[in-house]
């Protein structure tokens, strides 16, 4: 026995000399730990959870429902109420839950039938008549009628609480009437080319009329949510997941999967790992690196889709409010069209595509992405403003911008050509392009000072910038994206609300904008839209680099390879469509169903995991007790 040893612990290995003295203490510990564990289990059991109702078909056959699990990175669900939700994830979910009057085709995103199977407009273009299909029912069995459309639209127009999300689509509408069960008549103040692009989910009147303030209703309390889309929302756990079940009676046909789950992740790398292990079967928004790594994985295919967003920048044209007061302190040299043209000649879009995006960007200088084939414009040989630093230098020399001693040009009235450039600090590609901008413009004697910022909008507010990076997702109907470059959307006076993305004000452009807005002939409108892009291109305030590809990947052991319909059909995307085509058409892999349980852990794995944890904890604990019990207790 070494009870008398000082300083160092006992090395005796004799069994516990006095078990009676140690046991109460161990027991106390054990009871405490057990109580804590029980408390934790109790906590878990009280977690709210949806009541999963397996899709009817598989319930009958007794099979596990086939599940398509989509991993979504950092989504925000502001609200599931179609009258008020403005974030993109819930808006996308609404496309699955409810029908819209018209849809955008999978082929090329042009208008196609939705809840309305047919439509016509009067000669003056002021009255539109839509024929509502008679084979659509809500998930509670009620038929969908023209009254539901009229109710939805009128709520948005008349009820302040219902106006938040979608009122802009109906700005020009005088009245919406259900003239009979299957006919809706919309009267307009002015003719409008966007009457087949009203992105408003049609809600069931018989459910919503019972709600006092439709805009204040959460729509996330009682599941399933009554709708008539291809999917029915059955569960939502905030910041965790959204679950939808197939609507077997959908008029276009039932979806291929029984269940669709959106699972939320915070981190882009974590969601890639989740795809690798089959926790999810679809991810989108991949970086070039992630996509390249996944290309070599077994059972995973990468879908590279043409971009829906443009990446670009704007030059401060001398920001002004509508009342003529100037805003901020943009470099006056940028008001000179010659300087802007010179800058256009200094920009090398091919370098952006190859060296910044590794080829995963379609270089283009025009505003509407090529995926919208009818609207997209490309300059021909004579119109192109090509990468040509010599030409840029020539233009500036001729316009009287002489180089100073340090090589930086000075304008005829003495302003040094130093430009302050602000770039999104969280978009690595933009940061790289900003570096290129410094080099390109240095070549033509213009100095660029770059500041990364996470509040680019703040500089647009104040007008205190020369170069500002920008990017927008372009919808199938281009009206809105064109509107943000018109004179009319600038602030009425400094400090007021605005929609402009650039402070550009070009009367010729505005003229064309007004024309396309009321041009009801699609071909004639497309022609105007193309001219507007040429005007933007040559005006040089809004400079486009191109359209970054959309990179997504899915597991072919869950989703039949090639089954999800892309939009557009050629090189299109599956996630984030203007419609439900991708999820609706996706088929489970193999015959008769994919491995729907891929996203949940097998009982064996769970057992192994829990067992391992218990063994480690209990083992460590016992070891500790045993070691200290080796010496007896005497006092």
């Amino acid at each position: 026995m070494n009870w008398s040893s000082f300083g160092h612990g006992s090395s005796s290995t004799s069994p516990a000399a006095d078990p009676a003295a140690t046991r109460p203490r161990s027991t106390r510990w054990a009871v405490g730990i057990l109580a804590a564990a029980l408390a934790a289990i109790g906590l878990v059991a009280t977690l709210p959870g949806g009541a999963p109702s397996p899709a009817a078909a598989s319930e009958e056959s007794g099979e596990e429902p086939t599940t398509l699990t989509v991993g979504v990175v950092d989504p925000t669900v502001d609200s599931l109420n179609p009258f008020t939700s403005i974030y993109s994830t819930p808006t996308q979910i609404h496309r699955l839950m409810y029908d819209y009057l018209t849809m955008y085709s999978a082929e090329d995103a042009t208008p196609t039938e939705g809840l309305a199977e047919d439509w016509e407009f009067s000669e003056d273009g002021l009255t539109w008549t839509y024929t509502i299909r008679d084979d659509s029912t809500f998930s509670d069995g009620e038929p969908v009628t023209a009254d539901d459309v009229a109710y939805t639209y009128n709520t948005i127009m008349e009820d302040d609480s219902g106006a938040m999300a979608n009122s802009s689509y109906l700005d020009n509408v005088e009245s919406v009437t259900a003239t009979d069960e299957h006919t809706v008549e919309i009267k307009l103040a002015r003719p409008s080319a966007s009457m087949l692009a009203i992105d408003i989910p049609i809600v069931p009147e018989h459910v919503w009329e019972q709600v006092e303030n439709p805009g204040d209703f959460s729509n996330e309390d009682e599941y399933p949510i009554v709708g008539n889309g291809p999917w029915i929302l059955t569960d939502y756990q905030r910041n965790e997941s959204l679950t939808l079940e197939a609507n077997e009676d959908y008029w276009r046909g039932a979806p291929g999967f029984d269940r669709l789950v959106y699972r939320f992740y915070k981190d882009g790398d974590a969601v890639v790992e989740a795809l690798r292990k089959g926790e999810v079967s679809f991810v989108s928004g991949l970086t070039t690196l992630q996509a390249q790594a996944l290309e070599n994985e077994q059972d995973i295919v990468v879908n590279e889709a043409v971009g829906k967003r443009f990446a670009g920048l704007t030059l401060n044209p001398g920001a002004e409010a509508k009342n003529g007061e100037s805003i901020g302190d943009g470099n006056p040299a940028l008001r000179d069209p010659e300087v802007r043209t010179a800058i256009l000649h200094a920009i090398d879009r091919e370098a952006v595509a190859e060296r910044v995006y590794s080829g995963k960007l379609e270089p283009s200088g025009s505003y509407i992405p090529s995926r919208y084939a009818d609207y997209h414009w490309e300059p021909d040989e004579s119109e192109i403003i090509a990468y040509d630093p010599d030409e840029a230098n020539r233009i500036l020399d001729e316009a009287g911008y002489a180089r100073g001693d340090d090589g930086i040009r000075v304008s005829p009235d003495g302003t040094r050509l130093t430009l302050r450039q602000y770039v999104h600090s969280d978009i690595p590609e933009y940061l790289q392009i900003a570096k290129f901008m410094e080099e390109w413009l240095a070549e033509i004697g213009i100095e660029v000072e770059t500041t990364p910022s996470d509040d680019i909008g703040g500089f647009l507010d104040s007008g205190e910038f020369d170069i500002l990076f920008t990017g927008w997702t372009v919808n199938p109907d281009p009206d809105y994206i064109f509107s943000i470059q018109t004179c009319d959307v600038r602030p009425a006076e400094p400090g007021e609300s605005y929609q402009t993305d650039s402070y550009m004000c070009d009367p010729a452009y505005d003229q064309m904008y007004a024309e396309q807005k009321t041009e009801l002939d699609p071909d004639a409108r497309a022609e105007i839209v193309q001219d507007m892009q040429q005007e933007l291109y040559e005006h040089g305030v809004v400079i486009i680099f191109g359209y970054p590809d959309m990179l997504e990947a899915y597991r072919t052991d869950v989703i039949e390879e090639g089954s999800p319909q892309t939009q557009p059909a050629e090189n299109g995307n599956i996630y984030g469509q203007d419609g439900y085509w991708g999820w609706w058409s996706a088929q489970p892999a193999g015959s008769g169903g994919g491995s729907g349980d891929d996203d949940s852990m097998s009982p064996v794995a769970v057992g192994v995991g829990v067992g391992a944890v218990v063994v480690v904890v209990v083992g460590g604990f016992l070891l500790m007790r045993r070691r200290s019990a080796t010496a007896g207790q005497r006092e």
Partner: protein
């Protein structure tokens, strides 16, 4: 008696004052955050000028700052934390905090218990045999893990144990608190599996401080006369350690654990983010990006209040544990 009462009242008043200060700071601190909530929320969306203005009005952002402050104080006086900007489907900020408190407590509570037990146990062993090989290994490992960036460690664990690396199977989930549509008792093993990696990350990063505090306070006690006395009366080494040295050395760690319980709730932002854990830290991160002012303020007040209350608790419990403070 008077002395005890004065002590208690003094501590409670101090805590109340701190809370009040937090409530006031909370308003102004986050108003200086860059970013316009309405602009962030409508980014990339086709919204009209009328919609932008309606949103500003709904959020009260069209009011002058002093008016917003008065509204905030009146609200707070009614114990109302307001309504979140971005989670407009939720009733109130208080409701949101209530909803996400449970997942955070589950994660943080488990991690704190494990790190405290592990840290204190290793701390005692290290302190008692200070200078030995096991002491040096123990403290070395703990300090290394302590200095590892949480986010990186979490991601490494995901890559190795969630995705599987070489012979290591991919048994643990890559994120989340549970699989969708698992309910009832099946939740218990499911949530337990989801907890393993985040808890491991938290424990690895946190347990060192318990170890170090325990170790150093045990060292302080090592030379004490009462230990010599205990040994002199024939107690074995383990008994001297457990009955005499450890209880005395444990005192400083009580405060540490109490402060931690309050503070770690806020400190899990990184872990909750990398593991997509649907708790308060996760929500705080979401709120900062907008910035969702009512939600940030609410969470800030809540986090601060839990630290203040836990400190108060430690102050009040301490005299019960240590008779010397009472005198």
């Amino acid at each position: 008696m008077g002395k005890t009462a004065r002590y208690v009242v003094g501590r409670v008043l101090g805590a109340a004052l701190s809370l009040l200060a937090v409530a006031f700071i909370g308003f102004f601190l986050f108003r200086v955050l860059p970013g316009d909530p309405v602009r962030t929320m409508t980014e990339d969306q086709a919204v009209s000028l009328e919609q932008l203005e309606a949103l500003r009005a709904e959020f009260g952002l069209d009011q002058p700052l002093w008016q917003q402050f008065v509204d905030y104080v009146v609200q707070l006086a009614h114990l109302d934390l307001g309504t979140s900007f971005q989670y407009r489907g939720a009733e109130s900020v208080a409701g949101l905090i209530g909803e996400k408190l449970l997942p955070t407590i589950l994660l943080v509570g488990t991690a704190t218990i494990i790190s405290a037990v592990l840290g204190l146990w290793l701390g005692v062993r290290s302190g008692w045999r200070n200078g030995s090989v096991s002491d040096r290994v123990n403290t070395g490992v703990a300090l290394t893990l302590w200095s590892v960036p949480t986010f990186w460690l979490g991601l490494m664990l995901i890559i190795v144990f969630a995705a599987g690396l070489g012979p290591i199977p991919d048994i643990f989930p890559a994120g989340g608190m549970r699989d969708p549509n698992v309910t009832g008792w099946a939740l218990v093993p499911n949530v337990a599996m989801h907890m393993v990696l985040p808890v491991t990350t938290l424990v690895a990063v946190v347990y060192a401080q318990y170890l170090l505090v325990m170790r150093s306070s045990l060292l302080d006690e090592m030379g004490s006369d009462y230990l010599l006395t205990a040994r002199a009366k024939g107690l074995r080494d383990a008994a001297v350690r457990r009955r005499h040295a450890v209880p005395n050395a444990l005192l400083p760690t009580v405060t540490l654990i109490a402060i931690d319980l309050g503070g770690i709730v806020a400190g899990t932002i990184l872990v909750e983010s990398v593991f997509s854990w649907p708790g308060l830290g996760n929500m705080f991160y979401e709120a900062l990006k907008v910035p969702d002012l009512p939600l940030i303020q609410g969470l800030f007040i809540f986090f601060s209040a839990s630290v203040i209350l836990m400190n108060l608790l430690a102050d009040l419990v301490y005299p019960l544990l240590d008779p010397r403070v009472r005198r």
